[in-house]
Amino acid sequence: MHAGRLLAMRLLQVVPIIVVATFVVFGLLHLTPGDPAMMLAGDNPTPQHVAEIRHLYGLDRPFLDQYGLWLWHAAHGDLSQSLLTRAPVSSLILQRLPNTLLIVALALVLGLGFGIPLGIAAAVRNGSAVDQALTSAASLGVALPSFWLAMILVTVFALDLNWFPASGAASLLGAPLDALRHAALPAIALAGSTVAEVARQLRSALIEVLGTQYIRTLRAKGLSPTRILWKHGLKNVAVTLLTVTGLMVNRLLGATVVIEAVFAIPGTGSLISYSAINKDFPVVQGVVFVLVIGVILTNLLVDLVAAALDPRVSRA
């Protein structure tokens, strides 16, 4: 299959995935207890006032009508307004998405930057004390809750040493250095499990590759271990590494919900949790819509790069 055809097929899958994902989230929000009209009606509401609010915001329309209307507007680029604050959902997302993407990107860079060398080190010394230590540390890293690590980091590096800010975010375009300082601790907290996961996956994939017959043949032919590793070993695990990276991006996006709360970062994670608690349907829907598209695009990019790296993928 050519890359162009792969791209077309993946794009065709986008529409049903978005519809299913947003429909499920919309349904879950309606199933969870609590009535947004009651929340909007404020203190001491009368039943008439609640009914008026329900009508005013279209909350008295049938479920499918409400969903259909939202989808129709979304398809035309209008993600509606927040029920609570009347702010356009698209501007809320645009304000916050850069903060989230920055910490996710930084965490990914750190995760790959440390995870790949550690995975290689463990694989080439398979069974040694170094391997065992790295494998144990990786298991601990996977199990370590990111919010706990975050609080330790804040206590040591923000409150005691005063090296990094304890909370908030800055604009990457307006104050890039300040933005990186703000993103550093959240990114490190998020990167902990990424380093561990990348190292573990890379180690097992590389051990498998390095144990294959053709690698043994290469060794027998006298190729240096460095050349075997870099030219043949890593090339063969590149697709695995790519797949793990794609999964990590998706996982990191989800993990920002907790990390943004610990560091008071105005990002999409905190936006979705606040909106879900307050039953602000349009905002939750809007964020889910954008995140689903983000995940699909990430997977698509992974597929395309994988196809470029390994011709068998595009022929499959």
Binding site: P33, N44, P45, E52, L84, T85, A158, G168, V262, A264
Partner: protein, 516 residues
């Protein structure tokens, strides 16, 4: 070094009676720092504003965001909650059904339009009648609003209502520019154009509201800051960390569990004062088992409020059996300890009511960890009295809908009542016939008559007498299960001055100043 109430020493925790007065006295003894102009105060709080339009807002936490920009017609004394002049310099009731407000002159809105009687009329009619208004019930007694002079407004009432002045010290009396109302439409939710010392320049949802000084403010000698920034940080632990790290200057509504940490924070001043926020259990007494007064009284005898306060409030809260804190002008002190912990008496009352084998009771509570602790303690405390407490949990909004909404789920709801400026408002909203917070909506004999009497006179002493009867009636009937008033715990940097706590627990931060 941590201080309590600005200078009383780190061990003297001020909580409960006299705390506000002590705070003021302590300030008088210390060499008073002189107010100076300048600086931007950075504040953090756990809740984002629900909206910035006074009449469409939904949360008691909105006021802190509104006060700097939007002023009220009538103000209140921070320590006693008695009414005092605001945008109205005087008011009177020439007869019980007529309420006259004399307005200040020379006041401008942030958009430079004049504050006058016409503006007040537009605001009050909007608050009383707009479909999106959440304060319409505050105007139940108002038949019409008339402009009776360039700076005078007269409200014609359908019944005597002396609760109106203090009602107008709340959202209902917050005045914004008619020009802005007309031009902005629903976007007034995001841009409050008031007459306050600060004007809003940026409102980023769930993040921050940024203010700058209003150079046309009518009380220039009462405004020192060049600007303010109120950040929303949902987690109070993060909020406090940001203050300790110097990223913010002031945090409030901190939890008692954070007090030991504050005591060790040398760069911060800590103030602990009583507030109106009542930790309570709303009861549905329209059906079994709580339609029996003896069961309600048994419930009140079954809980040990002091032990609860020690366990969850570290003793900083104010244990109570009534709905008004001790410092409130209308509080009858004899109602503060109306029920003492007595499981034997509770058991006897239950047996008398026909529940000799114990009584199953269903409460709806909050999922938050701090509240789960409260609920678990309640469950254990109530066992010896014979109550078998069953709990169902949810978020604050969810539990309110389930308990007060059409479903009328559960016998009680564990929650916070945030108080109202006028005591009659409080009792009407909590126990009045058909009121939202009266989950059963029924009428308790005597309550309506006392509510009417409490607003039938403008004389403070006469009102106090009627309100005392009301407090006793509610206490004897056991219409609620009050537990404790939450302590207001704030922390701020040593370079911040002028913090004035108020009993409402909603500080007016724009009157503060900062060292250079």
């Amino acid at each position: 070094m941590s201080q309590d109430a600005q200078g009383l020493g780190r061990r003297g925790v001020l909580a409960g009676a006299g705390a506000l007065l002590s705070a003021t006295a302590a300030r008088a003894q210390a060499p008073a720092p002189q107010p100076r102009r300048g600086g931007t105060l950075r504040v953090c709080t756990y809740a984002a504003p629900s909206t910035l339009d006074p009449i469409t807002g939904r949360n008691g936490t909105d006021h802190v965001f509104l006060y700097p920009a939007v002023e009220t017609l009538i103000d209140f004394e921070p320590t006693s909650m008695l009414a005092r002049p605001g945008l109205a310099k005087a008011w009177s009731f020439p007869d019980p059904k007529t309420f006259v407000l004399d307005l200040r002159e020379g006041v401008l809105f942030h958009d430079s339009t004049p504050f006058d009687a016409a503006a007040v009329k537009i605001n009050l009619e909007r608050a009383a009648g707009d479909a999106r208004s959440n304060v319409r019930t505050d105007f139940d007694s108002v038949r019409s609003v008339e402009v009776t002079g360039p700076s005078q407004v007269t409200l014609r009432l359908s019944r005597p209502d002396s609760a109106l002045p203090l009602s107008l010290s709340d959202r209902a009396g917050m005045i914004i520019s008619p020009k802005a109302i007309k031009e902005l439409g629903v976007q007034t939710d995001r841009q409050p154009v008031g007459t306050g010392a600060m004007r809003v320049v940026t409102y980023t949802d769930n993040d921050r509201v940024v203010y700058v000084r209003n150079d046309k403010y009518w009380q220039p000698d009462q405004s020192y800051l060049d600007g303010m920034e109120i950040r929303t940080i949902a987690d109070t632990a993060t909020s406090l960390r940001s203050v300790m790290a110097g990223e913010n200057d002031f945090a409030f509504e901190l939890s008692p569990e954070q007090k030991p940490l504050l005591d060790r924070a040398r760069n911060l001043t800590t103030v602990v004062t009583p507030s109106f926020r009542l930790h309570t259990v709303y009861l549905n007494y329209s059906r079994k088992p709580l339609n029996d007064q003896r069961v309600r009284q048994a419930l009140n005898y079954a809980i040990d409020r002091n032990a609860l306060n020690k366990a969850v409030g570290l003793g900083l809260n104010q244990a109570t059996t009534t709905e008004l804190p001790k410092e409130h002008w209308a509080c009858d002190p004899t109602t503060v300890s109306g029920y003492t912990y007595d499981p034997a008496k509770a058991k006897a009352l239950l047996a008398e009511a026909g529940y000799a084998d114990g009584c199953d009771i269903n409460f709806i509570g909050w999922t938050e960890q701090r509240w789960q602790k409260v609920q678990e303690i309640l469950m254990e405390q109530m066992k010896p009295a014979g109550f078998r407490l069953h709990l169902s949990l949810g978020s604050p909004g969810d539990t309110a809908t389930r308990f007060f909404g059409p479903g009328k789920e559960g016998d009680g709801r564990v929650a916070v009542w945030s108080g109202r400026p006028d005591p009659s408002q409080i009792y009407r909203q909590l126990f009045g016939k058909g009121s939202y917070y009266n989950a059963g909506s029924g009428e308790t004999p005597g309550v309506e008559a006392l509510l009417t009497a409490s607003v039938g006179t403008t004389d403070v002493e006469a009102r106090k007498a009627e309100l005392s009867k009301l407090q006793h009636l509610v206490l004897e009937q056991g219409l609620m299960l009050p537990m404790m008033f939450e302590a207001e715990i704030v922390a701020f940097h040593k370079n911040v001055h002028g913090y004035q706590p108020n009993l409402l627990g909603k500080p007016k931060l724009h009157t503060m100043w900062m060292d250079a």
